[in-house]
Protein backbone atom coordinates (compact mmCIF):
# COMPACT_ATOMS: atom_id res chain seq x y z
CA UNK A 1 0.00 0.00 0.00
CA UNK A 2 2.84 2.25 0.99
CA UNK A 3 4.31 1.69 -2.42
CA UNK A 4 1.13 2.71 -4.13
CA UNK A 5 0.80 5.64 -1.76
CA UNK A 6 4.28 6.64 -2.48
CA UNK A 7 3.54 6.20 -6.11
CA UNK A 8 0.46 8.21 -5.63
CA UNK A 9 2.42 10.80 -3.78
CA UNK A 10 5.00 10.60 -6.43
CA UNK A 11 2.26 10.95 -8.91
CA UNK A 12 0.93 13.98 -7.10
CA UNK A 13 4.41 15.32 -6.74
CA UNK A 14 5.00 14.64 -10.34
CA UNK A 15 1.85 16.33 -11.30
CA UNK A 16 2.64 19.13 -8.92
CA UNK A 17 6.13 19.55 -10.29
CA UNK A 18 4.75 19.30 -13.78
CA UNK A 19 2.25 21.93 -12.96
CA UNK A 20 4.98 24.11 -11.49
CA UNK A 21 7.04 23.53 -14.53
CA UNK A 22 4.15 24.46 -16.73
CA UNK A 23 3.55 27.49 -14.57
CA UNK A 24 7.20 28.36 -14.80
CA UNK A 25 7.06 27.95 -18.53
CA UNK A 26 4.04 30.19 -18.68
CA UNK A 27 5.85 32.67 -16.50
CA UNK A 28 8.78 32.56 -18.88
CA UNK A 29 6.53 33.23 -21.80
CA UNK A 30 4.94 36.12 -20.01
CA UNK A 31 8.31 37.39 -18.99
CA UNK A 32 9.55 37.09 -22.51
CA UNK A 33 6.52 38.92 -23.77
CA UNK A 34 7.00 41.54 -21.14
CA UNK A 35 10.64 41.86 -22.05
CA UNK A 36 9.74 42.17 -25.66
CA UNK A 37 7.20 44.79 -24.86
CA UNK A 38 9.71 46.63 -22.73
CA UNK A 39 12.26 46.39 -25.47
CA UNK A 40 9.66 47.65 -27.91
CA UNK A 41 8.80 50.43 -25.55
CA UNK A 42 12.45 51.30 -25.22
CA UNK A 43 12.85 51.32 -28.97
CA UNK A 44 9.99 53.74 -29.30
CA UNK A 45 11.58 55.85 -26.59
CA UNK A 46 14.86 55.89 -28.53
CA UNK A 47 13.22 57.02 -31.71
CA UNK A 48 11.23 59.56 -29.73
CA UNK A 49 14.51 60.95 -28.45
CA UNK A 50 15.97 61.14 -31.95
CA UNK A 51 13.07 62.98 -33.48
CA UNK A 52 14.48 66.18 -32.09
CA UNK A 53 18.18 66.19 -32.64
CA UNK A 54 19.10 63.13 -34.64
CA UNK A 55 16.24 62.84 -37.07
CA UNK A 56 18.54 63.57 -39.95
CA UNK A 57 20.18 60.22 -39.37
CA UNK A 58 17.11 58.32 -40.46
CA UNK A 59 17.23 56.89 -43.96
CA UNK A 60 20.57 58.47 -44.63
CA UNK A 61 21.45 56.17 -47.49
CA UNK A 62 18.12 56.66 -49.14
CA UNK A 63 18.39 60.40 -48.84
CA UNK A 64 21.91 60.38 -50.21
CA UNK A 65 20.77 58.27 -53.15
CA UNK A 66 17.92 60.63 -53.86
CA UNK A 67 20.14 63.68 -53.65
CA UNK A 68 22.67 62.05 -55.94
CA UNK A 69 20.00 61.23 -58.49
CA UNK A 70 18.63 64.74 -58.30
CA UNK A 71 22.10 66.13 -58.93
CA UNK A 72 22.59 63.76 -61.82
CA UNK A 73 19.33 64.75 -63.36
CA UNK A 74 19.45 68.50 -63.07
CA UNK A 75 22.80 70.22 -62.66
CA UNK A 76 25.09 68.52 -65.15
CA UNK A 77 22.31 68.45 -67.71
CA UNK A 78 21.91 72.20 -67.62
CA UNK A 79 25.65 72.66 -67.77
CA UNK A 80 25.83 70.21 -70.63
CA UNK A 81 23.01 72.02 -72.35
CA UNK A 82 24.89 75.30 -72.16
CA UNK A 83 28.53 74.35 -72.56
CA UNK A 84 28.28 70.77 -73.79
CA UNK A 85 28.45 70.07 -77.44
CA UNK A 86 28.46 73.41 -79.19
CA UNK A 87 31.95 74.62 -79.99
CA UNK A 88 32.68 78.28 -80.65
CA UNK A 89 32.90 77.79 -84.38
CA UNK A 90 29.67 76.48 -85.80
CA UNK A 91 31.48 76.96 -89.08
CA UNK A 92 32.21 73.38 -90.08
CA UNK A 93 29.33 72.48 -92.36
CA UNK A 94 28.54 72.53 -96.04
CA UNK A 95 32.23 72.12 -96.89
CA UNK A 96 31.64 68.39 -96.81
CA UNK A 97 28.82 68.50 -99.34
CA UNK A 98 28.82 65.44 -101.51
CA UNK A 99 29.46 66.01 -105.16
CA UNK A 100 27.62 64.18 -107.89
CA UNK A 101 29.80 63.64 -110.93
CA UNK A 102 32.07 66.47 -109.79
CA UNK A 103 29.62 69.11 -110.99
CA UNK A 104 26.47 69.20 -108.89
CA UNK A 105 26.22 69.74 -105.17
CA UNK A 106 23.72 67.91 -103.04
CA UNK A 107 21.87 70.64 -101.24
CA UNK A 108 20.66 69.21 -97.97
CA UNK A 109 17.48 70.60 -96.49
CA UNK A 110 18.21 73.05 -93.72
CA UNK A 111 18.85 71.43 -90.42
CA UNK A 112 17.47 72.82 -87.22
CA UNK A 113 20.77 74.41 -86.25
CA UNK A 114 21.01 76.24 -89.53
CA UNK A 115 17.56 77.66 -89.24
CA UNK A 116 18.58 78.88 -85.83
CA UNK A 117 21.67 80.46 -87.37
CA UNK A 118 19.52 82.80 -89.42
CA UNK A 119 16.60 83.11 -87.04
CA UNK A 120 15.26 86.30 -85.51
CA UNK A 121 17.69 87.95 -83.10
CA UNK A 122 15.49 88.68 -80.11
CA UNK A 123 16.12 88.55 -76.38
CA UNK A 124 12.52 87.93 -75.36
CA UNK A 125 11.60 84.55 -73.92
CA UNK A 126 8.06 83.80 -75.10
CA UNK A 127 5.84 81.61 -72.95
CA UNK A 128 5.39 78.33 -74.81
CA UNK A 129 2.67 76.66 -72.80
CA UNK A 130 0.57 79.30 -71.06
CA UNK A 131 -1.10 78.17 -67.87
CA UNK A 132 -4.74 78.78 -67.14
CA UNK A 133 -4.58 81.59 -64.62
CA UNK A 134 -8.30 81.38 -63.90
CA UNK A 135 -7.80 78.09 -62.04
CA UNK A 136 -7.36 78.30 -58.30
CA UNK A 137 -4.48 75.79 -58.20
CA UNK A 138 -2.50 77.70 -60.80
CA UNK A 139 -3.18 80.96 -59.02
CA UNK A 140 -2.05 79.55 -55.70
CA UNK A 141 1.21 78.25 -57.24
CA UNK A 142 2.66 81.79 -57.06
CA UNK A 143 0.75 82.96 -53.99
CA UNK A 144 3.89 83.15 -51.83
CA UNK A 145 5.74 85.35 -54.30
CA UNK A 146 3.66 88.25 -52.99
CA UNK A 147 3.88 90.06 -49.68
CA UNK A 148 0.24 89.15 -49.19
CA UNK A 149 1.19 85.45 -49.23
CA UNK A 150 2.90 83.41 -46.51
Amino acid sequence: IQGTQEKHVDGVKWTESKAIEIEEEEDDDVENLLKEEQAYGEEIDVSADTTGALKWKEDLTQKAAEAFLRQQQSAPNLRKLVYGTVAEDAGEEDEVDEELGGLFHVSRPDKESKQKANALDCSKFPVETPQDWDLDEVMSSIRDCFVTGK
Partner: protein, 383 residues
Protein backbone atom coordinates in the same frame (compact mmCIF):
# COMPACT_ATOMS: atom_id res chain seq x y z
CA UNK B 1 36.69 106.55 -88.78
CA UNK B 2 40.42 107.00 -88.46
CA UNK B 3 42.18 103.76 -89.34
CA UNK B 4 45.27 104.75 -87.36
CA UNK B 5 43.51 104.22 -84.06
CA UNK B 6 42.93 100.57 -84.90
CA UNK B 7 46.54 99.62 -84.31
CA UNK B 8 45.99 100.18 -80.55
CA UNK B 9 47.35 96.87 -79.31
CA UNK B 10 49.94 96.45 -82.06
CA UNK B 11 49.96 93.75 -84.68
CA UNK B 12 51.90 91.28 -82.57
CA UNK B 13 49.38 91.13 -79.74
CA UNK B 14 46.31 91.20 -81.96
CA UNK B 15 43.98 88.41 -80.89
CA UNK B 16 42.77 86.09 -83.60
CA UNK B 17 39.28 86.62 -84.84
CA UNK B 18 36.27 84.48 -84.05
CA UNK B 19 34.15 83.11 -86.83
CA UNK B 20 30.39 82.61 -86.84
CA UNK B 21 27.66 81.65 -89.23
CA UNK B 22 24.28 83.30 -89.72
CA UNK B 23 22.62 86.53 -88.70
CA UNK B 24 21.16 85.32 -85.41
CA UNK B 25 22.77 86.74 -82.25
CA UNK B 26 24.45 89.46 -84.32
CA UNK B 27 24.10 92.04 -81.57
CA UNK B 28 25.65 90.00 -78.77
CA UNK B 29 28.54 89.01 -81.05
CA UNK B 30 29.33 92.59 -81.97
CA UNK B 31 28.92 93.79 -78.38
CA UNK B 32 31.21 91.12 -76.95
CA UNK B 33 33.73 91.70 -79.74
CA UNK B 34 33.79 95.40 -78.85
CA UNK B 35 34.23 94.77 -75.13
CA UNK B 36 36.86 92.06 -75.53
CA UNK B 37 38.68 93.74 -78.44
CA UNK B 38 38.56 90.59 -80.53
CA UNK B 39 37.61 90.83 -84.20
CA UNK B 40 34.72 88.74 -85.49
CA UNK B 41 33.82 87.42 -88.88
CA UNK B 42 30.23 86.46 -89.58
CA UNK B 43 29.56 84.48 -92.75
CA UNK B 44 26.54 83.17 -94.59
CA UNK B 45 24.15 85.82 -93.42
CA UNK B 46 20.83 84.64 -94.89
CA UNK B 47 22.91 83.09 -97.66
CA UNK B 48 20.18 80.74 -98.85
CA UNK B 49 17.26 83.10 -98.74
CA UNK B 50 15.71 84.83 -101.69
CA UNK B 51 16.76 88.15 -100.33
CA UNK B 52 20.24 87.43 -98.95
CA UNK B 53 22.46 89.50 -96.73
CA UNK B 54 22.07 92.01 -93.95
CA UNK B 55 18.76 93.79 -93.47
CA UNK B 56 18.14 97.50 -92.96
CA UNK B 57 17.85 97.21 -89.20
CA UNK B 58 21.11 95.29 -88.94
CA UNK B 59 22.91 97.81 -91.11
CA UNK B 60 21.50 100.53 -88.85
CA UNK B 61 22.78 98.64 -85.80
CA UNK B 62 26.26 98.35 -87.31
CA UNK B 63 26.24 102.09 -88.02
CA UNK B 64 25.30 102.70 -84.38
CA UNK B 65 28.22 100.56 -83.18
CA UNK B 66 30.46 102.54 -85.51
CA UNK B 67 29.16 105.78 -83.99
CA UNK B 68 29.84 104.90 -80.37
CA UNK B 69 33.34 103.56 -81.11
CA UNK B 70 36.43 105.17 -82.51
CA UNK B 71 38.55 103.34 -85.06
CA UNK B 72 36.36 100.36 -85.78
CA UNK B 73 36.89 98.65 -89.10
CA UNK B 74 33.82 97.17 -90.74
CA UNK B 75 33.91 95.26 -93.99
CA UNK B 76 30.81 93.90 -95.69
CA UNK B 77 30.92 92.03 -98.97
CA UNK B 78 28.89 92.90 -102.05
CA UNK B 79 25.89 90.73 -101.28
CA UNK B 80 25.94 91.54 -97.57
CA UNK B 81 26.34 87.91 -96.58
CA UNK B 82 29.73 88.31 -94.90
CA UNK B 83 30.62 90.81 -92.22
CA UNK B 84 34.05 91.42 -90.75
CA UNK B 85 34.25 93.62 -87.67
CA UNK B 86 37.43 94.77 -86.02
CA UNK B 87 36.46 96.73 -82.93
CA UNK B 88 37.86 100.10 -82.03
CA UNK B 89 37.72 101.88 -78.68
CA UNK B 90 34.44 102.79 -77.03
CA UNK B 91 34.26 106.56 -77.26
CA UNK B 92 30.75 107.74 -76.36
CA UNK B 93 29.84 111.43 -76.15
CA UNK B 94 26.78 113.27 -77.44
CA UNK B 95 25.26 111.34 -80.31
CA UNK B 96 22.10 110.92 -82.37
CA UNK B 97 20.89 107.90 -84.27
CA UNK B 98 17.97 107.14 -86.54
CA UNK B 99 16.98 103.55 -85.86
CA UNK B 100 15.33 101.49 -88.55
CA UNK B 101 11.56 101.24 -87.99
CA UNK B 102 11.68 97.50 -88.69
CA UNK B 103 12.85 96.88 -85.15
CA UNK B 104 12.05 98.95 -82.12
CA UNK B 105 14.50 101.17 -80.25
CA UNK B 106 14.70 98.41 -77.63
CA UNK B 107 16.70 96.32 -80.10
CA UNK B 108 19.39 98.99 -80.21
CA UNK B 109 19.07 100.04 -76.61
CA UNK B 110 19.71 96.55 -75.24
CA UNK B 111 23.20 96.60 -76.74
CA UNK B 112 23.84 100.19 -75.71
CA UNK B 113 23.04 99.23 -72.11
CA UNK B 114 25.87 96.66 -72.31
CA UNK B 115 28.38 99.12 -73.78
CA UNK B 116 27.51 102.48 -72.21
CA UNK B 117 29.26 102.01 -68.80
CA UNK B 118 32.60 101.39 -70.54
CA UNK B 119 32.83 104.49 -72.75
CA UNK B 120 35.64 107.02 -72.66
CA UNK B 121 33.14 109.86 -72.33
CA UNK B 122 29.67 109.44 -70.79
CA UNK B 123 27.18 108.52 -73.48
CA UNK B 124 24.21 110.75 -74.20
CA UNK B 125 22.34 109.58 -77.23
CA UNK B 126 19.07 110.51 -78.92
CA UNK B 127 17.47 107.51 -80.60
CA UNK B 128 14.65 107.93 -83.10
CA UNK B 129 12.33 105.21 -84.33
CA UNK B 130 9.75 102.83 -82.91
CA UNK B 131 9.45 102.94 -79.12
CA UNK B 132 7.01 100.03 -78.67
CA UNK B 133 6.45 97.00 -80.86
CA UNK B 134 5.51 93.34 -80.53
CA UNK B 135 8.99 91.87 -81.00
CA UNK B 136 11.56 93.58 -78.80
CA UNK B 137 11.46 94.77 -75.20
CA UNK B 138 10.01 98.26 -75.26
CA UNK B 139 11.69 101.37 -73.94
CA UNK B 140 9.18 101.44 -71.05
CA UNK B 141 10.17 97.97 -69.89
CA UNK B 142 13.90 98.60 -70.23
CA UNK B 143 13.53 101.82 -68.28
CA UNK B 144 11.74 100.01 -65.47
CA UNK B 145 13.91 96.88 -65.33
CA UNK B 146 17.37 97.37 -66.85
CA UNK B 147 18.16 100.71 -65.22
CA UNK B 148 17.67 99.49 -61.62
CA UNK B 149 19.77 96.47 -62.55
CA UNK B 150 22.70 98.64 -63.68
CA UNK B 151 22.38 100.56 -60.43
CA UNK B 152 23.07 97.38 -58.51
CA UNK B 153 26.48 97.21 -60.19
CA UNK B 154 27.34 100.73 -59.08
CA UNK B 155 26.35 102.53 -62.27
CA UNK B 156 24.37 105.43 -60.96
CA UNK B 157 24.34 109.17 -60.70
CA UNK B 158 22.64 112.28 -61.99
CA UNK B 159 23.45 111.66 -65.62
CA UNK B 160 21.68 108.32 -65.69
CA UNK B 161 18.36 108.48 -67.47
CA UNK B 162 16.14 107.04 -70.13
CA UNK B 163 13.45 109.42 -71.26
CA UNK B 164 10.70 108.92 -73.79
CA UNK B 165 10.13 112.29 -75.42
CA UNK B 166 7.99 110.99 -78.28
CA UNK B 167 6.19 107.73 -78.65
CA UNK B 168 6.22 105.98 -82.01
CA UNK B 169 4.41 102.83 -83.04
CA UNK B 170 5.17 100.60 -86.01
CA UNK B 171 5.12 100.61 -88.99
CA UNK B 172 6.16 104.25 -89.36
CA UNK B 173 7.65 105.03 -85.98
CA UNK B 174 8.39 108.63 -85.22
CA UNK B 175 9.30 108.12 -81.57
CA UNK B 176 12.23 109.65 -79.75
CA UNK B 177 14.17 108.53 -76.71
CA UNK B 178 17.07 110.08 -74.80
CA UNK B 179 19.49 107.70 -73.11
CA UNK B 180 22.29 108.95 -70.91
CA UNK B 181 24.66 106.80 -68.86
CA UNK B 182 27.66 107.65 -66.71
CA UNK B 183 30.94 105.74 -67.04
CA UNK B 184 32.58 103.62 -64.36
CA UNK B 185 36.11 102.32 -64.09
CA UNK B 186 35.14 99.07 -62.38
CA UNK B 187 31.90 97.29 -61.62
CA UNK B 188 30.82 96.12 -58.20
CA UNK B 189 30.29 92.36 -57.84
CA UNK B 190 26.77 91.34 -56.80
CA UNK B 191 25.26 88.70 -54.54
CA UNK B 192 21.67 88.67 -55.65
CA UNK B 193 20.12 85.37 -54.64
CA UNK B 194 16.95 86.33 -52.83
CA UNK B 195 14.31 88.03 -54.96
CA UNK B 196 12.13 88.92 -51.97
CA UNK B 197 8.39 89.26 -52.30
CA UNK B 198 6.37 91.36 -54.68
CA UNK B 199 5.16 94.48 -52.91
CA UNK B 200 3.59 96.39 -55.77
CA UNK B 201 2.76 96.34 -59.43
CA UNK B 202 3.18 99.37 -61.66
CA UNK B 203 2.50 99.80 -65.31
CA UNK B 204 1.94 102.10 -68.24
CA UNK B 205 -1.00 101.87 -70.59
CA UNK B 206 -0.20 104.01 -73.60
CA UNK B 207 -2.21 105.05 -76.60
CA UNK B 208 -1.22 107.19 -79.56
CA UNK B 209 -3.44 108.45 -82.37
CA UNK B 210 -6.40 106.49 -81.01
CA UNK B 211 -9.11 107.35 -78.49
CA UNK B 212 -7.59 108.15 -75.06
CA UNK B 213 -10.38 106.04 -73.58
CA UNK B 214 -8.61 102.89 -74.82
CA UNK B 215 -5.89 103.22 -72.18
CA UNK B 216 -8.54 103.25 -69.42
CA UNK B 217 -10.15 100.11 -70.82
CA UNK B 218 -6.77 98.36 -70.77
CA UNK B 219 -6.17 99.40 -67.17
CA UNK B 220 -9.53 98.11 -65.95
CA UNK B 221 -9.14 94.66 -67.50
CA UNK B 222 -5.54 94.21 -66.31
CA UNK B 223 -6.49 95.20 -62.77
CA UNK B 224 -9.35 92.71 -62.69
CA UNK B 225 -6.84 89.84 -62.68
CA UNK B 226 -3.96 91.35 -60.73
CA UNK B 227 -6.15 92.57 -57.87
CA UNK B 228 -6.67 88.95 -56.83
CA UNK B 229 -3.01 88.82 -55.83
CA UNK B 230 -2.09 92.21 -54.45
CA UNK B 231 -3.96 95.44 -53.80
CA UNK B 232 -1.08 97.85 -54.49
CA UNK B 233 -1.46 98.30 -58.25
CA UNK B 234 -1.13 101.52 -60.17
CA UNK B 235 -1.17 101.66 -63.93
CA UNK B 236 -0.46 105.04 -65.47
CA UNK B 237 -2.34 106.05 -68.58
CA UNK B 238 -0.10 107.77 -71.07
CA UNK B 239 -1.80 109.43 -73.98
CA UNK B 240 0.54 111.45 -76.13
CA UNK B 241 -0.75 114.04 -78.57
CA UNK B 242 0.44 116.03 -81.56
CA UNK B 243 4.04 115.62 -82.66
CA UNK B 244 4.93 113.51 -79.63
CA UNK B 245 2.53 110.77 -80.73
CA UNK B 246 4.59 109.57 -83.68
CA UNK B 247 3.35 108.66 -87.12
CA UNK B 248 1.24 105.52 -86.62
CA UNK B 249 -1.71 104.69 -84.38
CA UNK B 250 -1.48 102.02 -81.69
CA UNK B 251 -1.78 101.18 -78.03
CA UNK B 252 -0.33 98.78 -75.52
CA UNK B 253 0.47 97.96 -71.93
CA UNK B 254 3.65 97.28 -69.96
CA UNK B 255 3.54 95.91 -66.42
CA UNK B 256 6.31 95.69 -63.82
CA UNK B 257 6.18 93.84 -60.51
CA UNK B 258 8.56 95.21 -57.88
CA UNK B 259 9.75 93.13 -54.93
CA UNK B 260 10.98 94.07 -51.48
CA UNK B 261 14.58 93.28 -52.53
CA UNK B 262 14.58 95.37 -55.68
CA UNK B 263 13.76 92.76 -58.29
CA UNK B 264 11.73 93.95 -61.26
CA UNK B 265 9.75 91.43 -63.30
CA UNK B 266 8.08 92.69 -66.44
CA UNK B 267 5.58 91.82 -69.14
CA UNK B 268 4.19 93.74 -72.07
CA UNK B 269 1.92 93.60 -75.08
CA UNK B 270 1.28 95.95 -77.96
CA UNK B 271 -1.54 96.20 -80.50
CA UNK B 272 -1.03 94.91 -84.02
CA UNK B 273 0.63 97.47 -86.30
CA UNK B 274 -1.69 99.43 -88.54
CA UNK B 275 -2.68 97.35 -91.55
CA UNK B 276 -1.32 94.08 -90.16
CA UNK B 277 -3.42 91.36 -88.58
CA UNK B 278 -6.81 91.81 -87.00
CA UNK B 279 -7.76 94.54 -84.58
CA UNK B 280 -7.04 93.75 -80.93
CA UNK B 281 -9.58 94.60 -78.25
CA UNK B 282 -8.07 96.71 -75.46
CA UNK B 283 -9.80 94.54 -72.83
CA UNK B 284 -8.28 91.39 -74.30
CA UNK B 285 -4.84 92.97 -74.47
CA UNK B 286 -5.04 94.01 -70.82
CA UNK B 287 -6.08 90.53 -69.68
CA UNK B 288 -3.41 88.77 -71.72
CA UNK B 289 -0.69 91.12 -70.54
CA UNK B 290 -1.67 90.55 -66.90
CA UNK B 291 -1.45 86.81 -67.50
CA UNK B 292 1.97 87.23 -69.08
CA UNK B 293 3.10 89.03 -65.95
CA UNK B 294 1.85 86.12 -63.83
CA UNK B 295 3.83 83.74 -66.06
CA UNK B 296 6.93 85.85 -65.53
CA UNK B 297 6.33 85.78 -61.78
CA UNK B 298 5.98 82.00 -61.99
CA UNK B 299 9.36 81.81 -63.72
CA UNK B 300 10.70 84.16 -61.09
CA UNK B 301 14.32 84.78 -60.19
CA UNK B 302 16.03 88.04 -59.26
CA UNK B 303 16.16 89.31 -62.84
CA UNK B 304 13.40 89.01 -65.43
CA UNK B 305 13.87 86.95 -68.57
CA UNK B 306 14.70 89.86 -70.90
CA UNK B 307 17.60 91.07 -68.77
CA UNK B 308 19.24 87.71 -68.03
CA UNK B 309 22.06 88.26 -70.51
CA UNK B 310 22.71 91.82 -69.30
CA UNK B 311 23.17 90.71 -65.69
CA UNK B 312 25.44 87.81 -66.72
CA UNK B 313 27.60 90.16 -68.81
CA UNK B 314 28.01 92.66 -66.00
CA UNK B 315 28.86 89.84 -63.58
CA UNK B 316 31.54 88.61 -65.98
CA UNK B 317 33.00 92.09 -66.35
CA UNK B 318 33.03 92.73 -62.60
CA UNK B 319 36.03 92.84 -60.28
CA UNK B 320 37.86 89.60 -59.60
CA UNK B 321 35.37 88.45 -57.04
CA UNK B 322 32.50 85.99 -56.89
CA UNK B 323 29.14 87.16 -58.17
CA UNK B 324 25.93 85.23 -57.75
CA UNK B 325 22.48 85.67 -59.16
CA UNK B 326 19.30 83.62 -59.03
CA UNK B 327 17.46 83.41 -62.34
CA UNK B 328 14.33 81.80 -63.65
CA UNK B 329 14.69 79.24 -66.46
CA UNK B 330 17.37 80.31 -68.93
CA UNK B 331 16.05 81.67 -72.22
CA UNK B 332 17.51 80.36 -75.51
CA UNK B 333 19.03 83.80 -76.08
CA UNK B 334 20.77 83.62 -72.68
CA UNK B 335 22.07 80.11 -73.32
CA UNK B 336 23.69 81.30 -76.54
CA UNK B 337 25.01 84.34 -74.70
CA UNK B 338 26.71 82.09 -72.12
CA UNK B 339 28.45 80.23 -74.94
CA UNK B 340 29.60 83.49 -76.44
CA UNK B 341 30.86 84.68 -73.05
CA UNK B 342 33.03 81.57 -72.92
CA UNK B 343 34.38 82.19 -76.43
CA UNK B 344 35.19 85.86 -75.90
CA UNK B 345 36.18 86.01 -72.22
CA UNK B 346 36.91 82.38 -71.29
CA UNK B 347 34.46 82.59 -68.39
CA UNK B 348 32.27 79.68 -67.49
CA UNK B 349 29.44 79.92 -65.03
CA UNK B 350 28.58 77.45 -62.34
CA UNK B 351 24.97 76.54 -63.03
CA UNK B 352 22.91 74.99 -60.24
CA UNK B 353 19.24 74.14 -60.37
CA UNK B 354 17.25 75.11 -57.31
CA UNK B 355 13.88 73.52 -56.93
CA UNK B 356 11.69 75.59 -54.66
CA UNK B 357 11.49 73.75 -51.33
CA UNK B 358 8.65 75.83 -50.03
CA UNK B 359 5.78 75.44 -52.35
CA UNK B 360 3.69 78.16 -53.93
CA UNK B 361 6.72 80.03 -55.25
CA UNK B 362 6.54 79.19 -58.91
CA UNK B 363 8.83 77.05 -61.03
CA UNK B 364 12.43 75.92 -60.78
CA UNK B 365 15.16 78.50 -60.44
CA UNK B 366 18.77 78.52 -61.57
CA UNK B 367 21.65 79.83 -59.48
CA UNK B 368 24.43 81.31 -61.60
CA UNK B 369 27.87 81.85 -60.08
CA UNK B 370 31.01 83.24 -61.68
CA UNK B 371 34.22 85.05 -60.91
CA UNK B 372 34.60 88.41 -62.64
CA UNK B 373 37.48 88.89 -65.05
CA UNK B 374 38.47 92.21 -63.48
CA UNK B 375 37.58 94.26 -66.54
CA UNK B 376 38.50 97.89 -66.06
CA UNK B 377 37.65 100.79 -68.27
CA UNK B 378 41.10 102.11 -69.10
CA UNK B 379 39.89 104.69 -71.59
CA UNK B 380 37.81 106.53 -68.98
CA UNK B 381 39.15 110.04 -68.52
CA UNK B 382 40.25 110.77 -64.98
CA UNK B 383 39.41 114.17 -63.62
Amino acid sequence: MAAAAVAGGGAASRPHSLSYVGCNFLRQRLVLATLSGRPVKIRKIRAKEENPGLRDFEASFIRLIDKVTNGSRIEINQTGTTLYYQPGLLYGGMLEHDCSPHRSIGYYLESLLCLAPFMKHPLRIVLRGVTNDQIDPSVDVLKATALPLLKKFGIDGEGFELKITRRGMPPKGGGEVVFACPVRKVLRPIQFTDPGKIKRIRGTAYSVRVSPQIANRIVDSARSILNKFIPDIYIYTDHMKGTSSGKSPGFGLSLVAETTNGTFLSAELASNPQGQGTAVLPEELGLNCAKLLLEEIYRGGCVDSTNQSLVLLLMTLGQQDVSKVLLGPLSPYTIEFLRHLRSFFQTMFKIETKSSHEELKGGEKVLMTCVGIGFSNLSKTIR
